[in-house]
């Protein structure tokens, strides 16, 4: 087990006072970001990314990934206490979490949610520890065609797994690719799609897009709904925690199932949100208390939280080993790696061993720190939500604007942020998914490069993508994922001809 030794080295890197401090700061900031409307994992990390330019990459990734864990934890607080999902992946947590809080069991619900999150994350980190080095060493042999096929599969999964209409998913995704193409062509160095504008020479930065789409767009949506926060009191004490912990092992089957669903959905970039819904749905069907789901069943909190956190964490596996992030936040972290001068992908495990294993070790520690922080500081985080929206909203807008400015020290980016924000509001209201759009902006150049290099090798024949067993398999999986809604529909019709009448 070479990876165990590497992991221990990773712990040695991480276990410094400075890094532990960054971990705590990251988790606290992350929970605050997760609790506040308009700030989420993706844009929170995007806003803080410029602050890390001067740090060492290892410290920087510890800070930023801990913000991500914190945001994952934080979503549960607002769902349970306020019935407002702070993050899309905690929508399913409101179904049973808030009824529990209304029954006066807020402490139990929060403990169950945090512990389940922790279990899900831990499971995913173990999967990463064991699988990532293998995937990476396998991927080292990939040529351009294989690389493109992995991108192809990742993007096709969005179409097949998403709950949005496929044509809208494709349209949003292609818009991302088009935005990524603006500026200098990375292969030939030629300018394109700038139409003579100097502002567009550098292309669209995905960080600006993330801050605008997720940050400003979210604020506009919150404003439209005219939210007023009315929450339940957060009573959590050691006795409740221990009591709940004693009860939790009974639901090991639900946990394990949710872990597996979460990891699967996280690695194929379907993401934490569908994972949490799917896990909730399956738990409801499998549980003997299934008919009581929705009235405050603890199992209905465990299932979505475990899956969401497992998915959110395992989204880093393809990001590290293949350079293909499994979620928008993972995409922002990947953007961070590029800015710090690291090349994400299989070579990372060879050339930047210390960094990779430091990050993986910090995932173990970060989640432990996270669990302790959220269990002890719930009342503080809940108090943040009681700050009225008329104060929070302009403060968040200013923070977003500063975040957008600091990416390139460019005032025009702040204008672009607002444009993306308004666009995000309309796209979201019309059911266009944001995640594939953002991932396409991040990966557009790389996907295009792999595509063009493959064509160069084959002298223009698309047959190169079916030239070997491996490429053909991945491409075929991609096509299946792409046409999945259609295929499953067809399958259903063939199986149940009577259903059509």
């Amino acid at each position: 087990m070479e990876s165990i030794g590497d992991l221990l080295n990773g712990f040695a890197v991480v276990l410094s006072w400075q890094n532990l401090l960054y971990m705590v700061i990251g988790i606290v900031l992350g929970v605050i970001i997760g609790v506040l409307p308009g700030l989420g994992g993706a844009n929170g990390v995007a806003i803080l990314l410029p602050l890390t330019f001067s740090m060492s990459p290892t410290s920087a990734i510890i800070l930023l990934s801990c913000i991500y864990w914190g945001a994952l934890f934080g979503g549960a607080i607002t769902s349970i206490l306020f019935n407002i999902p702070g993050e899309p992946w905690s929508v399913a947590t409101t179904f049973d979490g808030h009824p529990m809080a209304q029954k006066g069991q807020a402490g139990e619900a929060l403990t169950a949610a945090f512990t389940s999150s922790f279990v899900g994350a831990l499971f995913a980190v173990i999967v990463i520890t064991l699988a990532a080095p293998l995937v990476a060493s396998f991927a080292l042999q990939f040529g351009p065609a294989e690389k493109f096929s992995v991108f192809f599969l990742a993007f096709c999964s969005f179409v097949g797994m998403g709950k949005e209409p496929p044509t809208k998913t494709i349209a949003a995704m292609m818009l991302g690719f088009a935005l990524a193409a603006v500026g200098t062509d990375t292969v030939t160095g030629q300018l394109r799609l700038t139409f003579g504008s100097t502002e567009l020479l550098g292309g669209f930065d995905f960080l600006i897009a993330v801050i605008g789409l997720f940050g400003i767009g979210e604020i506009l949506l919150t404003m439209e709904e005219g939210l007023s926060f009315k929450g339940k009191a957060a009573g959590i004490n050691p006795a409740v925690v221990l009591q709940t912990w004693k009860e939790l092992p009974r639901y090991w089957m639900t946990s394990l199932r949710s872990c597996l669903i979460g990891c699967w959905m996280g690695i194929t970039p379907a993401g934490a949100t569908p994972a949490s819904f799917m896990s909730y749905g399956i738990a409801k069907r499998a549980s003997k208390n299934g008919d009581k789901f929705g009235t405050g069943e603890i199992e209905g909190v465990i299932a979505p939280e475990t899956a969401a956190h497992a998915a959110g964490t395992s989204a880093l596996l393809p990001m590290l080993s293949l350079g293909v992030p499994g979620s928008p936040t993972a995409a922002v972290l990947l953007g961070g790696l590029l800015i710090w001068g690291l090349q994400p992908g299989p070579l990372l495990f060879v050339e930047q061993k210390e960094f990779v294993w430091g990050l993986i070790a910090s995932m173990y520690l970060g989640n432990i720190v996270g669990l302790v922080v959220v269990l002890t500081m719930v009342p503080f985080f809940a108090a943040i939500l009681r700050v009225p929206f008329a104060i929070i909203a302009p403060v968040i807008l200013v923070i977003c604007a500063i975040g957008a400015y600091t990416v390139h020290n460019n005032s025009f980016d702040v204008v672009m942020m607002l444009v993306f924000g308004v666009a995000g509001y309309f796209l979201k209201k019309c059911n266009y998914p944001m995640a594939p759009l953002v991932l396409a902006i991040v990966l557009g150049d790389k996907a295009e490069e792999a595509f063009r290099q493959s064509l160069l090798i084959s002298q223009g024949s698309l047959g190169v993508f079916w030239s070997s067993g491996l490429v053909a398999t991945i491409m075929s999986l991609g096509l299946i994922a792409l046409f999945w809604p259609f295929l499953s529909n067809l399958y259903g019709r063939i199986l149940t001809p009577a259903f059509r009448k």
Binding site: A171, D185, L193, I216, V395, T406
Partner: protein, 167 residues
């Protein structure tokens, strides 16, 4: 949303119309992508596919899927509201100040613009008293200044006021 009147148009724009608008806008974006790709060449050059090759197909896909979305929205009966006018008004109460804000940043600097945005917002929408409003509006600027300029050594845009103060 109590008692929708007979004429929904008086309550707010329809979802269908907004969907049509978004799809049409996407068609235009796709067309721009195609046009820009054609300008740099979409064929086969000395180094393989030319710069416009990839975005050209991307543009075609945008136009294709968006035309489909447009037609779909057009033929599907949908009486749902996009939002009530009152809600749109709420959204505009953020969009307009933000538009003025981003326009002001290059002239006034980020600190003065941000303070004005927060103070204006809290007075206008929140109806808070001056002490709290000024406290949050100015206090946040101090926090931002110390965090960014002193701690992380990142310079934020400044305007005439900062010049006057010699910051």
């Amino acid at each position: 949303m109590s008692n929708p009147p007979d004429d929904p148009d008086s309550v707010g724009p329809r979802q269908r119309h907004v969907e049509l608008g978004v799809a049409a806008f996407m068609v235009v974006l796709g067309a721009i992508t195609i046009f820009g790709s054609l300008k740099v060449g979409i064929g086969w050059g000395a180094e393989g596919p030319k710069s416009g090759f990839f975005p050209f197909w991307i543009g075609l896909l945008i136009v294709g899927t968006s035309v489909f979305n447009f037609v779909w929205a057009y033929i599907t009966p949908n009486r749902k509201l996009f939002a009530e006018w009152g809600q749109i008004n709420q959204v505009l109460k953020i969009v307009w100040p933000m538009a003025i804000y981003v326009a002001a940043v290059p002239w006034l600097g980020i600190y003065v613009s941000s303070a004005l945005l927060i103070i204006g917002f809290m007075r206008w929408l929140g109806h808070y008293g001056w002490p709290l409003t000024l406290g949050v509006g100015l206090g946040l600027q101090v926090i931002i200044y110390v965090t960014f300029e002193k701690w992380f050594l990142l310079s934020l845009p400044k305007g005439p006021l900062e010049d006057l103060l010699g910051l």
